[in-house]
Symmetry: C2
Subunit: 598 residues, 2 copies
């Protein structure tokens, strides 16, 4: 019952309606990504996820990882998954052919990552972080570094890890203290300790390429004095063979609420004063590199919300069809029925389903915008696509991970008392999902990004343009979904009002803006989610009328959109009041009185 | 940092404003519950909770309970807690003096239970279930049964357990299959298996009095054929001494997401055909008895939401004052500050704080209504109080446990990455809190109770009267909190519209009502919460003006009420739309298509 089955029709439809699938073949570099190839790739990926990876999820949770000697040991079952991953070339999809990749759209790779993550979130972090590291090296590394390290990372023979956080430097990366000193040969000696390093050490790959943020002697304080270094676990000889072990070591593993299969390491660099690193890009420009890694990883973390809640939903829906309990409300007989017939149980399922589909639509659109930003032939299209991708990133990360936790919790509730028993499996989704709103920039930080940097980017061009697009669509809803026209128009108008208000705050009322950031992100995401689901429903109506496609699937898409607009959108629209209420009630209790005088 | 400190000022103020504290001395039976006595009792209870019980919370989580031979063994630390509990007479507060109690208001006992539960939720379940069993025996047992069993339960020498659930009979209690057969001597032989029996066996008391639901041969199907039996773990001789062990045995313990310190037992009755039970009340009237136990326990479970979120809030607030990270938004310097200065962190804390205080106010009012229903001298006052208590019970249970989980999750978020590490302690609150929306009737069932039975009770008299009271207050908000008058009036009006709509649905549109039940409960609870916090703020304003009381505390009460009305109430008011939207979008996807055609 805890089996996962990749929702292929839904994923394909979301790719078509939000992920630009039909435009791929016309996009420079993606000419081969035609319908048939894509369908075949998705099919194969589904088999990998359903049959090979999904059964390892509980095993990873129960066995976890542990340290033996100076290496992290993962469950044997993970080694088989890694083998299948490498053999199938699944890590190579979206990289240039020159680096051993297949040159397919990043959006397609994301759809596959969704399946892999549903199948085993803890495992999926390893390829996710590797791809973040690859992006950073490609974007900022030297030609030699790219040639020396990237192909083996693309093939998943080696993996990557991001070494940012220190005990005193979490969200405030600029406070980090790790040191780098330049050596006569141009390399650097790295020293310091890093915490919360996901897959910082393990036994699934021959080598691990660490990207490490550190500070040079005399570097400026804060984020302007941070540099990025490439620190291989094993030195790589010029012929590509592996040399001695570098002076980097896992010190301990964290005991976590969830994702037990993913080793979260404390890493020590330079304990024996012999940790050699190589600068990536320029000195003191490490933050820029970090954002290259993070923007990619942020959307990837958002996807975790979708993936875990999708699987939790499937698990709960299957149970709700089997579990017989109580008579149906309003029925003539008092015979007990499957609990999926009970409206309050359906609400749990429909809420999870609808928010997952909305978040998936946002994320696919987000990644397709990244693809266009890199591949479109027209520079103006690229610029606009980049703006849209950046705008949507905090939505993808924060909204999708929030609804991920909410969905996992609603799905657990479907099981009643059984949901609280670990063996049922619902609790694992509830535990695993909880990290996603925290890492890669907490959701509070995402909200500040949306209400700060992304609000002011290009004078507000990107959010204005998206709101314009949504308004036009909503005002044109004169067929099919037309009964929802007013609700959607109201919601878009509320969003416009909110964005305009925060935009006008400027630096004068920046505390008000910061106070409003979280509800603003929720409003923004829910409106975009409603818009994309309504667009999907409109397309589903068109296909139904044209007898094109599976009617059961298309009808369910329409109902899910209706549910989202009717049941979920109104409370988001009502966030306009809280957004405009200012910061007084948030800020006026004295710090000390949060604990004292109670 | 994980220390708990009972919020004595807040508890006392909530008792005064919502729990009727100043009326206690004028209530028959509570004449001794004057201000000084109450303050002294609360003070002593706080010491017990803070110093004796709170330190055992993590220990219970880590050690859990286990079976040795045929007994459940709990951590040694729990034995000391139980000793202190018995010696201090904490279990006896609200029972009649004739049964060894102290005859104090149940509302006062609840305030103390709040502290005990914050200190150790897993432990607190044991006295909670014992008091549910005591209530049922007092209400429905024979004089002999009361005399024989109750005094030792009041003193906590013995404990009680509720044996309802079976594998095929959870929410649908009527489906249970356990059997009872009458013996010539008037006793019954009980047989069957029960699951999810909280504190069903343990080593903290000399005896355990099980109340067991079972079915007599030929009894009507469903809930009308259920009887309740008293099954002691050890038989009790006529002189009160303990006799042989009864044929009831713990079979196994569940491996749960949280409350590890609380043994959740599978219990076998009559494996050797020798389990003797005694009927409580009449044959086939067991459901009525069960509701006596459950109504009490439901509010008690609601209190768990308040208790756990209160402690999670304290834990997070203390961390937020200590943790230095990032510069303050809008400040002139870039010096890092305590994260409690960051608006998005404050939002996490204020949301938890405000919802906890709202839920506490609802629960105290609920319990005080129960007290009046039993103790008021005027029968009409008793009748109305009973109606109000019954109306508020699903709010207390479901709203408080929902915000309990939400608050524990928000508090965890305050810690950033540390929140996901078990040693931090935030994760335990997140895990422990998750059971409360499930047991004692899932929150979905509470919502159906509110939108069904409680909506129609006495022709709607009780909800109409509460709405009238709130409307009158809101329309009279012409001082102090007056800027919130419109918001509160709008919210009460929306609630009235929602209740009237569902009331008018009747049996014709009963599926629409069931579909709307959950948002209706959320709207109802949030409006009552806002009303009670505004009433508290009005009283705080009065005291501030009169220089009566601690100004820091009173000012914080006002700000918390403002925050709730500004930031939390509007999204609840917006639930009117979803409530009136009907059930189509919830019900129209075919059952099978929740899993297939995706």
């Amino acid at each position: 019952m805890s089996d996962y089955r990749a929702p292929l029709e839904e994923i394909q439809f979301a790719l078509e309606t939000c992920g630009g699938l039909n435009e791929w073949v016309n996009t420079p570099g993606f000419e081969e990504a035609g319908e048939d190839l894509v369908a075949a790739v998705l099919d194969e990926a589904a088999k990998l996820a359903n049959e090979i990876i999904a059964p390892t999820n509980v095993i990873g949770d129960l066995k976890g990882a542990h340290i033996e000697g100076d290496t992290v040991v993962t469950p044997d079952e993970f080694k088989k998954v890694q083998e299948a991953f490498v053999e199938g070339g699944w890590s190579t999809l979206a990289y240039p052919e020159s680096l051993g990749g297949q040159g397919l759209p990043g959006t397609l790779a994301f759809a596959i990552t969704e399946m892999v993550t549903s199948a085993n979130m803890a495992f999926s972090l390893q390829p996710l972080l590797t791809s973040g590291a690859i992006e950073a090296i490609i974007a900022h590394g030297s030609k030699e570094q790219i040639a020396k390290y990237v192909p083996n990372m693309v093939s998943a023979k080696w993996t990557g890890a991001m070494n940012l956080t220190e005990p005193g430097a979490g969200s405030d990366v600029g406070a980090l203290k790790a040191k780098a000193e330049k050596q006569p040969d141009g390399s650097y000696k790295i020293s310091g300790q890093k915490i919360f390093i996901t897959w910082g050490d393990h036994d699934l790959a021959e080598n691990i390429i660490h990207l490490v943020l550190a500070r040079l002697p005399g570097a400026p304080e804060g984020t302007r004095g941070i540099s990025m270094f490439l620190v291989p676990k094993f030195h790589v000889n010029d012929d590509g063979s592996l040399g001695d072990r570098n002076d980097v070591r896992v010190v301990s593993l964290e005991h976590k609420l969830g994702i037990h299969g993913s080793p979260t390491c404390v890493m020590a660099f330079g304990e024996n004063d012999n940790c050699i690193g190589y600068i990536v890009g320029e000195e003191n420009k490490g933050m820029r590199n970090m954002f290259t890694m993070m923007n990619h990883a942020r959307v990837g973390v958002g996807l975790q919300g979708v993936s875990v809640a999708e699987r939790a939903y499937q698990h709960a829906a299957a149970f709700a069809q089997e579990r017989i309990q109580s008579a149906e409300i309003g029925a003539k007989t008092r015979d007990a029925v499957a609990i999926i017939r009970h409206p309050d149980v359906r609400r749990l399922l429909m809420t999870t389903r609808a928010t997952v589909e909305a978040a998936r639509a946002i994320i696919y659109r987000n990644v397709w915008a990244f693809d266009r930003a890199h591949h479109a032939s027209d520079p103006e299209v690229r610029r606009k696509a980049q703006g849209e991708a950046d705008l949507l990133t905090p939505l993808s990360k924060a909204y999708a991970t929030d609804i991920g936790v909410e969905g996992a919790s609603l799905a657990l509730q479907v099981f009643g008392g059984m949901g609280f028993i670990e063996e049922t499996g619902a609790a694992q989704f509830y535990r695993d999902s909880r990290i996603a709103p925290i890492y890669e920039g907490t959701n509070g930080i995402q909200a500040l990004d949306l209400a700060g940097r992304k609000l002011n980017d290009a004078g507000g061009e990107h959010w204005k343009s998206l709101i314009e697009e949504m308004k036009e669509f909503a005002e044109g809803m004169d067929r099919g979904m037309k009964e929802y026209k007013d609700t959607l128009v109201d919601a878009v108008t509320a969003l416009e009002d909110a964005a305009t208000t925060l935009f006008a705050n400027g630096f004068e009322n920046i505390v008000d803006t910061a106070a409003a950031a979280t509800p603003y992100l929720r409003l923004f995401s829910t409106v975009v989610g409603a818009y994309l689901l309504c667009k999907q429903a409109t397309e589903a109506e068109r296909r139904l009328a044209a007898h094109d496609g599976n009617p059961a699937f298309l009808r369910a898409k329409i109902t899910t959109a209706r549910f989202y607009v009717e049941q979920i959108l109104p409370t988001a629209t009502a966030l306009l009041g809280p957004i405009k209420a200012g910061s007084a009630s948030l800020m006026e209790i004295d710090d000390i009185d949060f604990c004292e005088n109670r």
